[in-house]
Symmetry: C2
Subunit: 330 residues, 2 copies
C-alpha cells in the first residue's frame, strides 16, 4: 500500500499527484519511507490518514476520475461520516449579507434534516454554512486546500476546532503543505466529489465556487444555485449558473426532495401579535427598523422588541441595519 | 363583419365573448346595431376599433385559440405598432424597490433596442416598465382590463396619456365596461398574446403575473423570470417560475438574444473617479449612503455627490435610502 507514501511524496515535492509517478525519485522515496512511524507521528498530532485502497475511503470520492490517493483527517467523528448523505454549500468569500444569511439558513436546515454539510472553511459563505450546521447540532466537514495541520484562514481556527469537535476537517494534503492558489481548484474537486449535490449560494462571475459546480456536474452530481438580485455582482455567477441550467434553490426542501431525504417536521415558534406583524412585513422585502415602523404603524420600541424576538427564534437575520426574513412564508 | 357588434354586445351584457353566441338576443342586437354611427361616436372620443377580420389586427394575437373579436384603441400611434416585435413586462403591483428598479431598467433598455414594451398600466412593475420605455423615447402599449374609455388605476391617468402620446392604450372592452376582477386574467391573455416574450419581474406565489406567464407558455412564447432573493416573498413567484423551467433573465441582452434582436451600442457615460469608486462598491450589493462611506473610505459629501451623478446617469437608483446599481458591471 503506497497511498500514504504518494501523499507524503507529493507534499515534499510540491506536486499534485493522483497516480504514482514513474520516476526513480519516487521509487527511492518509497523504499525509504517508514509508513508505520509516519502514522505514529500523525496520531501523536491527532491526525489520521485514510488511503484510496482502504475500506473507509469515501465511496462518492472514489467515483471521480482522479480521486486523491488518500485523505488526511482530524476531528472527533469517524471517517465513515464521509459516506453519509452530504451536500456541499459553497460561495463567495466576500459575500453580501444576503449570501451569508442564506448560507447559514441552508447549513442549519440541511443539517437539521440529517445531511452532512461540506464546505471549504473559507470566509463568507463557507464559514456561514459550517456555522449553520453547527447551530443545528449537526456534524459538518471542512475540506482544506492546504496541509491538514494548518487552519486556513487563520481567523477560522476556532471554527475549525468546533467543526472537529463534532465532525471532521480533512485534506488531501499532508502536514506542512502551504496554502497555494493552484491547490484550491483541486480542493474544490474534493468538496464536489464528496457531495451528492453542490449548492452555490452567491458567486461572482469567474468565482472559485463555479469551479466546484463544474466538478459536481462533471461527476454527475446535482448543482443548485441560489437566485439573487440581477443588480448584484455577487449573484452574477449564481444567476449565470441558472442560465446554464442549474436547479434554482429557493428553500432547503428543494434539496431534500432532489436527494429523496424526508424533511423534518418543524414547528414554527409561537409568535406574539407584534412579532407576527413585523415578520409579515419582512416577508415582502428586507427592511431597516425605520422602514418597518413606517410600514407597520407600530412604534419604534415595539418593532425593536419584535425584531429581537424574531432574531432569537432564527426567523430574521440582521446585517448592516437591514433585517431579512430568513424563512420565507411563501 | 360583426366583430364590433360582438364586442359592443359583450360590453352591454357583461359577458366575455370570443365567438358569436348562438342566441336570439345577439341576432336581434346585431340587426339593430348601427356600426357606422357607433364608429363615428368612437372617433369623436378619439377612439378606434380594429376587428379580428381586419388586416390591421395583430398577427400574434390571431394565433391565440381565443383571440378577442377586436381591440379598442386610443393613442397617436398606428395600430400596426402591435405587429412590431414586442415584449411584455409584468409583475407585482405592490412590488419592492428592486422590482420597480428592474422593471424600469428593462423597459428602458428593451425600448432602446427597438422593442415595443407591453404591460397592463397597473401600479408597481407595470407602470415602471411603461415609464422605462418612455424614458428611452420608445413607444409602449398599455393593455387595459376595463373599457377603453377608462384609466385604471385612476392614479395612472397621466401615465396613460403619456403612453398614448407615443404609443397605444388598447382594450378588448368597449367604452363603459367597468374594471372587474375576472376581466384581468382575460386581459393578461391579450398581453401575453401580443408579445413575442413575457418577462415576469417580481411576483408573489399565485400572482396574476404568473397567469400571464401561463398564457405565454400556452401560446408557445418564451417566458423569462427575473431572479430575486429567496428570502423575499415578492420573488417567490418568479423563483418558482425558474424552478418550472422559465429562462432566468439577468440582463436585457438575454431577451434580445432570444428574440434575435441586435443590442444597441451603448457607451457608458464618463464617470469621475469618486463616482466610479461608489459604483464599484454598489456592484457588490445595494447599500445605504452611510454604508458606502464606511465601505469606500470616502467622506459623506463626496459619496452624496457621486450618488447624485450616478442617479442622473441612470446607473444607480434609490428607494427608501437604499442605493442599487441598475447596470451590473459583471
Amino acid at each position: 500500500m503506497t497511498d500514504l507514501a504518494l501523499a507524503v511524496f507529493a507534499a515534499e515535492t510540491g506536486a499534485h499527484l493522483v497516480e504514482e509517478p514513474r520516476e526513480r525519485r519516487f521509487e527511492r522515496f518509497r523504499r525509504g519511507f517508514d509508513e508505520a512511524s509516519y502514522k505514529e507521528r500523525l496520531a501523536a498530532r491527532g491526525l489520521r490518514f485514510v488511503g484510496r485502497e482502504e475500506s473507509g475511503y469515501p465511496t462518492r470520492l472514489r467515483e471521480l476520475h482522479d480521486p486523491p490517493p488518500g485523505l488526511f483527517v482530524r476531528g472527533d467523528a469517524a471517517v465513515e461520516l464521509l459516506r453519509e448523505p452530504a451536500v456541499a454549500i459553497v460561495g463567495a468569500r466576500a459575500c453580501s449579507s444576503y449570501g451569508s444569511q442564506v448560507a447559514r439558513l441552508l447549513g442549519r436546515e440541511l443539517a437539521a434534516a440529517g445531511l452532512v454539510v461540506l464546505s471549504g472553511l473559507a470566509r463568507g459563505v463557507d464559514g456561514e454554512a459550517h456555522r449553520g450546521a453547527l447551530d443545528a447540532g449537526g456534524p459538518t466537514v471542512a475540506v482544506l486546500g492546504c496541509g491538514i495541520d494548518r487552519d486556513y484562514p487563520a481567523a477560522h481556527a476556532q471554527l475549525a476546532a468546533r467543526i472537529g469537535g463534532r465532525g471532521l476537517v480533512i485534506s488531501e494534503y499532508a502536514p506542512g503543505v502551504e496554502p497555494a492558489p493552484w491547490r484550491f481548484p483541486a480542493r474544490n474537486r474534493v468538496i464536489a466529489g464528496l457531495a451528492s449535490a453542490t449548492i452555490v449560494v452567491e458567486a461572482r462571475d469567474r468565482s472559485g465556487a463555479l469551479i466546484t459546480a463544474d466538478f459536481a456536474l462533471e461527476a454527475g452530481r446535482e448543482v443548485f444555485a441560489v437566485p439573487g438580485e440581477i443588480t448584484s455582482g455577487l449573484s452574477a455567477g449564481t444567476n449565470a449558473l441558472l442560465r446554464l441550467g442549474a436547479t434554482p434553490l429557493t428553500r432547503a426542501e428543494d434539496v431534500l426532495e432532489a436527494l429523496g431525504v424526508e424533511a423534518p417536521a418543524t414547528a414554527l415558534p409561537e409568535l406574539g401579535e407584534t412579532a407576527a406583524c413585523v415578520l409579515a412585513a419582512l416577508a415582502e422585502e428586507a427592511a431597516g427598523a425605520d422602514q418597518l415602523v413606517r410600514g407597520t404603524g407600530l412604534d419604534a420600541a415595539s418593532v425593536a422588541t419584535a425584531l429581537a424576538e424574531l432574531e432569537l427564534a432564527g426567523l430574521v437575520a440582521e446585517a448592516e441595519g437591514l433585517y431579512r426574513g430568513v424563512r420565507p412564508q411563501g
